[in-house]
Symmetry: C2
Subunit: 250 residues, 2 copies
């Protein structure tokens, strides 16, 4: 186990308000009226800084809050009985952490910061209470939960039907698309996770990730130097994924 897994999180309190947040339209308040956002603000009392390598919560912890990522990059993962890690997702600004805890009031996975970041804790009991009064807030929460289900199903499709190169291409495209939604370049970005974590997420070994990076590089689709990614041929990458398995094989 990496050493950082034993460090507790360091909490620093900062003022928070959805109404002045830059990822407002990607997050829980999406589509709410100004007045509704102000009521939601009454729940979001603070931002919490999480330093790189620290844990926001662990599998088994009781659910107190969901966490909206405001800044930074997180991974969530579950452990198999024999201690193997399965990364279940990478989250960036505007995405919500902790959804899987609602079912049992215990977190089913752990959340780690892959770089320094900030999250807005959303006390869940109060969120449910407030969403009694705000239909559109309740609807948003339902949508966010459902979106996570859709995302998981597409991961299952990747794991079940795509080969290693295709999975990596799909992974890079997914990052590219989410980053561009947040105003960053879709063609140049930095991987915040290690090869091993990408591999775990995609159901592959880290060596396979290295080799797939080499394949995509040799085909002139991307340049990946360490954690620095440059996408040379976005369309080519997309074709690689669409022509899923067997089709258009070299």
């Amino acid at each position: 186990m990496p050493p950082f897994e034993t460090r507790p999180i360091q909490v620093q309190y900062l003022k928070a308000a959805c109404s002045s947040c830059s990822v407002l339209e990607l997050c829980l308040p999406l589509g709410l009226s100004h007045q509704e956002v102000e009521r939601l603000d009454t729940l979001i009392l603070q931002r919490v800084r999480v330093k790189k390598g620290h844990t926001l919560y662990r599998a088994g912890d009781p659910l107190s809050s969901l966490y909206a990522v405001r800044l930074g990059f997180f991974k969530t993962s579950v452990l198999s009985v024999d201690g193997r890690e399965q990364v279940t997702g990478f989250q960036m600004a505007g995405e919500i952490l902790g959804l899987d805890a609602i079912s049992s009031n215990l977190h089913a996975c752990s959340a780690f910061a892959l770089e320094d970041g900030e999250v807005c804790p959303i006390p869940f009991a109060q969120l449910e209470q407030l969403s009694q009064a705000l239909p559109s807030l309740q609807h948003n929460l339902n949508k966010i939960l459902s979106r996570e289900i859709v995302r998981d199903h597409s991961m299952l499709l990747q794991m079940g039907n795509m080969n290693a190169d295709e999975r990596l291409a799909a992974f890079l495209l997914n990052l590219s698309q989410r980053l561009s939604l947040r105003g960053y370049s879709s063609r140049a970005f930095v991987l915040r996770m290690r090869r091993e974590e990408i591999g775990s997420y995609l159901g592959l070994r880290l060596e396979t990730i290295c080799r797939c990076i080499a394949h995509l590089r040799d085909q002139g689709l991307v340049i990946i130097d360490g954690k620095q990614v440059q996408i040379l041929d976005l369309e080519g990458l997309k074709q690689r994924v669409a022509g899923c398995h067997n089709a258009a094989r070299e």
Copy 2:
């Protein structure tokens, strides 16, 4: 494509009421007071019969209702761009179909009946409306959505970290456990799906499923004759899954 994919569903109206349903405590009304269930009953106007081989809804259909399975056995699946099927789940009595449609108001997967069954359509707009008035109903919906996320994550763990034998063992144990929750035998049951569908669900080919069945049989853990399953050694099967990959390998 199998021929039944083109048949429309045949709708037959039957009286329905959660308050008199046998899977009440596994379904949406879980934990609701008698009065609350009666209000929920006002939404559940009918049961719909779905005959084996028929489609309840298809990917792309607009979301009008969620469906509670009352009887029978369903599969849900998504298609990849090039027409490959990925089975995302098998649903039995008390489980809810259509959750992935909430995110976009369009069904993201299709639902097929693997045997004659009955579902209770739950008009989603009205469900959201009613859950404004009934906090515990809203809470249940949240829980059900979250439970699906947890389930998907455990499927990702299976696909990412388990070999073929382990996945099949986990699959059989999961069926066994859900059936026993519903009052059926946990040691003898019938597979409602074909080998190919099991394979798609587990990210394997149908031939691999056959071979894994043979492996488990040769180890004296199960007897599987066609669709008839008999579990001889429940504990042995569990060990097979827990000692996930590499551990306790023969």
